[in-house]
């Protein structure tokens, strides 16, 4: 069996009296899309924020490729090959689409403590950023300022930017949220094509997307994982139906 790309063990996070992450144990193996579903407020974003290092857990451990990272900062984890997207998009709004990607590429090269090179005129950098945009829906929008993008385009740019980091592991926080049907299908297609490049933890509400993409599904309710299984089995799991899917179908 392959060593897991991400191994989370006994993770706990409390906000005062609220246990937002309650002894979560889960893993992502290479080439896998592991979906994490659960009702609003279940603690999905809180979990992602602990995995990427923005938020410190109270207990438990996180390992990437067998290396313990619990004590590492968010930037250190990013440099180890962990990239993420945000539920509420988080981009450099004053810059162009192209420059957002270029920035990810340049920081990824690890040469940012340089004071003299003019990167605004670095042809190889912009060429590389254009290659990263090629084939995505943003190809023709490279010169547009990010603040002028539509919601769907922003979601897409987050993914392209994360991929420009050449991650081993990608954490996706509701990449489909707020997208129309066509945009969702495009996003699903894009994610399906990425499986060979990196493992993914996919937090998503859109059940069609989850069942189309996921190799395994975990269900988070009140901070606790109540089931982890193959998508087909999750669909049939009575506890899951009661806690989550049932509600969704009736609503």
């Amino acid at each position: 069996m392959t060593a897991p790309l991400l191994q989370v063990t006994g993770l706990v996070k409390r906000f005062g009296g609220l246990t937002a992450t309650d002894h979560v144990t889960l893993d992502v193996v290479p080439g896998e899309i592991h979906a994490l579903i659960g009702p609003n407020g279940a603690g999905k974003s809180t979990l992602i924020n602990q995995l990427c290092g923005e938020l410190a857990p109270d207990e438990g451990s996180i390992a990437i490729d067998g290396a313990e990272v619990t004590a590492l900062s968010a930037p250190e984890r990013a440099r180890m090959g962990l990239a993420r997207t945000f539920q509420v998009t988080c981009l450099l709004d004053e810059e162009t689409v192209l420059w957002n990607v270029a920035m990810a590429l340049d920081v990824g090269r690890g040469h940012s403590f340089r004071f003299w090179r003019d990167i605004r005129r670095d042809e190889s950098l912009t060429a590389e950023a254009r290659r990263a945009l090629a084939g995505t829906g943003l190809e023709g929008r490279a010169g547009v300022t990010v603040s002028e993008l539509s919601h769907g385009e922003r979601k897409q740019l987050e993914l392209v930017t994360a991929l420009a980091q050449q991650p081993r592991l990608l954490l996706l926080d509701e990449p489909m949220a707020g997208l129309g049907h066509v945009e969702s299908q495009a996003m699903i297609g894009m994610l399906a094509g990425l499986k060979s490049r990196c493992g993914m933890l996919l937090v998503e509400h859109d059940m069609d997307a989850v069942f189309a993409l996921a190799d395994r599904v975990s269900v988070l309710v009140y901070g606790r994982i109540i089931a982890t299984d193959l998508p087909g089995a999750i669909r049939e799991n009575p506890a899951v139906r009661e806690a989550y899917l049932g509600e969704g179908e009736e609503a």
Partner: protein
């Protein structure tokens, strides 16, 4: 007449900004000759001060406009730079050692780098502590540090205390007659030109872009792998060094330093220059320094309440002219004939 596009000047691409900067440099180089020909020799000394404050304000703008950090204590580094020149001069003329260790000097090639380095060291300490906070706390802490230094120098009787230090002669530069105010002007102009060329480069560097990214969205930059504190600290030190350079030049120009150089009102003046000229632009602070000092000179000759007039102008700029005087000039420039396409 063709339609007028107000944004055209602001987006002028390619080499145009460089050409404009060079044109400005040519005018500035001819200024002393023009000033005496026109019978306004005082103009040269006004422009010397503009250049010096322009360096200080642009340094502040580097962390304010590009880094998003409002330092309200930047006069501290300006004053430190000045005092390095003043103290080295006093030790030089008394033939004593500073702290019993360091010999004095009246050589600009020594005093200027020394001022820059000492200001940078102070900025490193103050920045390392202040940058652990953010927002309003950062403003207050930088202000507090600057006031601490102000009172320290007020109490330093060995170096003039309240009264400050008189520097009998401007520092020397090999081959130049530094007693000539025009020569001092050209020295300041040369240093300002190098400073702004370096700053332009820095802003476009990977470092400058990361800093600017942190201002726009820290979370995004962290997700990309940027550790904010180190970048901001280095930026703060560079910014302090620039202010120290300006202070050292000011000490040479005025041949005088006093604690007033680091008083909080001086920090406020630098902030006003940045805001007047245009936050987050390369030459905005220089233009802001010019606007401030010219207004000060003009208004002070009309009324002793000149600060009130200045306040009104500032209010207008902040409320009506986004981007400051620089943006105003760019917009007016676009109205000139021959500028529309």
């Amino acid at each position: 007449m063709a339609d007028i596009d107000l944004t055209h000047g602001a987006q002028a691409p390619g080499r145009a900004p460089l050409l404009r900067a060079l044109a400005a440099l040519v005018v500035l180089a001819a200024l002393p000759t023009l000033a005496s020909a026109l019978g306004y020799p005082a103009l040269t000394s006004l422009v010397t001060r503009i250049l010096i404050y322009g360096i200080a304000a642009a340094s502040l703008n580097f962390i304010l406009g590009y880094g998003g950090l409002v330092s309200f204590g930047h006069a501290a580094f300006f004053g430190i730079g000045g005092y390095v020149v003043g103290i080295l001069y006093q030790n030089y003329s008394d033939e004593t050692l500073f702290l019993g260790l360091v010999p004095g000097s009246n050589q600009m090639l020594i005093t200027l780098p020394a001022a820059v380095l000492v200001a940078g060291a102070f900025a490193a300490v103050i920045g390392a502590l202040s940058l652990r906070t953010g927002g309003v706390q950062f403003i207050m802490i930088t202000l507090a540090f600057a006031q601490m230094l102000f009172f320290l120098f007020v109490s330093l009787k060995a170096y003039g205390g309240d009264d400050g230090l008189i520097i009998r002669r401007t520092n020397e530069l090999p081959g130049l007659n530094m007693r000539d105010k025009e020569v001092v002007y050209y020295v300041c102009l040369g240093i300002a030109a190098l400073f702004f060329a370096g700053l332009a480069r820095l802003i476009r560097s990977p470092f400058g872009n990361v800093l600017n990214g942190l201002r726009q969205n820290e979370r995004r930059m962290v997700a990309l792998g940027v550790a904010p504190y180190r970048y901001r600290l280095v930026a703060f030190v560079l910014s302090g060094m620039g202010a120290g350079l300006a202070g050292a030049l000011m000490a040479n120009f005025l041949r005088f330093v006093s604690p007033d150089m680091m008083h909080w009102t001086k920090s406020g003046e630098l902030l006003i220059m940045v805001i007047l000229g245009g936050v987050g632009t390369l030459f905005g602070p220089l233009i802001g320094a010019a606007a401030y000092l010219v207004l000060e000179t003009l208004l002070a000759s009309w009324t002793e309440y000149w600060q009130l007039g200045l306040g009104l102008v500032l209010l207008f700029v902040v409320m009506r002219a986004r981007g400051g005087v620089r943006a105003l000039i760019v917009a007016l420039g676009a109205l000139l004939p021959g500028r529309q396409k």
